[in-house]
């Protein structure tokens, strides 16, 4: 992996981008939520918002936005929550993949139908 710019950043840059906000616990965003732009970037928009709208012309996972913008996941969450609020983007969230009941061993188990789809997909590779 190439060296990352983030490592050398001061938290002040992130503070400026998010205006000091952190994502709360009650938001629906997952690192694999797929984000879709609903409008084009507009002049005068915060540059990070504009970049996200640009990137998300096709569905793009939150974590890919994070890697592309070289911003931590939680900073990207704050930016996306802004865009969700204003209708700039929509998010396709992961289905709740955990079954209501856990396995005999108490493990968290994914939904059976989801597993079958994943298995089929992997076997086709």
């Amino acid at each position: 992996m190439s060296p990352r710019a983030i490592d050398r950043e001061t938290p002040d840059r992130f503070y400026t981008i998010t205006h000091g906000r952190v994502p709360g616990d009650d938001h629906p965003l997952d690192i694999v939520s797929l984000i879709v732009a609903e409008r084009d970037p507009a002049p005068g928009m915060q540059s990070e918002h504009a970049k996200i709208l640009q990137m998300c012309r096709t569905p793009t996972a939150l974590v890919e936005i994070s890697a592309e913008l070289q911003l931590p996941v939680s900073v990207v969450k704050v930016l996306l929550l802004d865009l969700l609020d204003t209708g700039g983007v929509t998010a396709r969230h992961p289905l709740p993949s955990l079954s209501a009941a856990s396995g005999p061993t108490g493990l968290q188990l994914p939904d059976y139908d989801v597993l079958k789809q994943v298995l089929d997909g992997l076997q086709r590779l």
Partner: protein, 210 residues
Amino acid sequence: MDYNASDADEATGRTPLAKSASHGLKIVVVGGFGVGKTTLVGSVSEIRPLSTEEVMTEASRGVDDDSRVRGKTTTTVAFDFGRISLDASNVLYLFGAPGQERFWYLWDQLFAGSLGAVVLVDTRRLKDSWYAIDRLEHHKMPFVVAVNRFDGIDGPQPTLARVREALALADGIPVIDCDARLRESSKQVLISLVKYLTRLSDAARAQRVG
């Protein structure tokens, strides 16, 4: 590396997902430094593996919730990921994650809802995997163990039975050989995990019905 760079958009260097992509899924590959996590992710990924970070605030540790205070000490945890488009709607993200202690504070924030995990081990450093296995059990996250058989190791390597014993694995947890550099081998690791999850899911259903 098996990603196909020719699929990338020339202007951005990015390989876009299909417009119909709607359902992101996660599998986490956990292992110590240099064990081959990024290699495994890269060998099956359709994109060049990417790297990003999450910032761990005090709030992430569950201590208190005053992380809005400017200048609060933070730590960052880096992780790699790749991507496999499984079909028109399902996209599987594969994460390569370090097993070190601070990383586990971020598990819920990043990897809650993962289908399962792969513990990638190097037989020369089996002990490095103990902590990861303990933490996965703590988080009730099902996992398989994949032994990355590096070439160039002199002398006999421990058998899978010996690895199972050394890691004190419960019966039923699959332990498999792999060569993380090979796409087909890495694919088989993922298939082993998903088949294992399917068996567990079957057993859970049978238990509910019974």
